[in-house]
Symmetry: C2
Subunit: 143 residues, 2 copies
DNA sequence: TATTGTTATACTCTATAACTATA
DNA sequence: TATAGTTATAGAGTATAACAATA
């Protein structure tokens, strides 16, 4: 049997866990024609109607330039619509189809997230989310 | 202020945490001329001298085909050496330079992992690694 | 028959620079 | 002067198929 010293490195295990769970979620969303970033955007647009592409990108840590093809694809699929705020900014909204699609995606995600947590032994379960949030967010950004 | 419903999704937060910490580690390893995958490999080769590229790829979840350019780069840098096991398989070993380089990389990584854990509030800290391992590994693979 | 190492290739994600127009 | 939206491009990482040689 091979030795695996990496199993004790939190950073490494974090990467592997994220990759494994991400691949699984991607597979579950594929039948809906959505990617993880699509769903993240739909959720944030629904929660913040009229949000701009730039603000959305900042929340998701996606560069402005990389938002363009993603939003274009979702606009072509008629999941989102754009409406000019002023001569420079454009607000994003969900279409009816976008709302319906998000509803299906949310069912997939909610089931997935629940299964994810179920894999964690109960004595660790409630610690996962706050621990991860502490790794990700700057101290001043934490609730 | 924007609403961020994503903060309560473990899968999403996992992805963000992995990306943020990964980017930071990559930046810290850059002065050594190493990537994260390089260091993972050096660690595993040191722990399992003579391991084959295929076995290494299986442990790291990297396709055989994608191991080729990584190993070539590390061989060109004289960090690893290959020695034929039989007519088909090739064992990997660290060179002296590879051992020295790994020693420097390990200092970087150990400091990084310690800082990572320090960001986690103490009441959650000891739960992070077992929770992540539960997400990543199949139940029958857990210790 | 399965496995090793390899080549070639394509796709996604991400990062950067530059440009126009507007706040 | 800073920001929004965009185009173009390059670099990683990853995935698949195929092949020859060997176990």
């Amino acid at each position: 049997m091979m030795k695996d010293p990496l199993a004790s490195y939190p950073g490494y295990v974090l990467r592997r866990a994220a990759h494994a769970s991400g691949a699984e979620l991607t597979a579950r969303l594929e039948p809906l024609g959505l990617r993880q970033s699509d769903v993240s955007m739909l959720i944030l647009i629904e929660a913040n109607p009229g949000i701009t592409a730039s603000a959305l990108g900042r929340m998701l840590d996606i560069q402005r330039a990389n938002m363009v093809p993603i939003l274009k694809r979702m606009e072509d699929a008629e999941l989102i619509a754009r409406e000019a705020i002023d001569g420079k900014s454009v607000g994003l909204e969900l279409t009816r189809a976008g709302t319906a699609k998000l509803s299906k995606a949310r069912a997939v995600i909610d089931a997935f997230e629940a299964e994810l947590l179920e894999r964690v032994p109960v004595e660790h379960r409630n610690h996962l989310l706050p621990a991860l949030n502490a790794l990700w967010r700057e101290p001043d950004q934490q609730g």
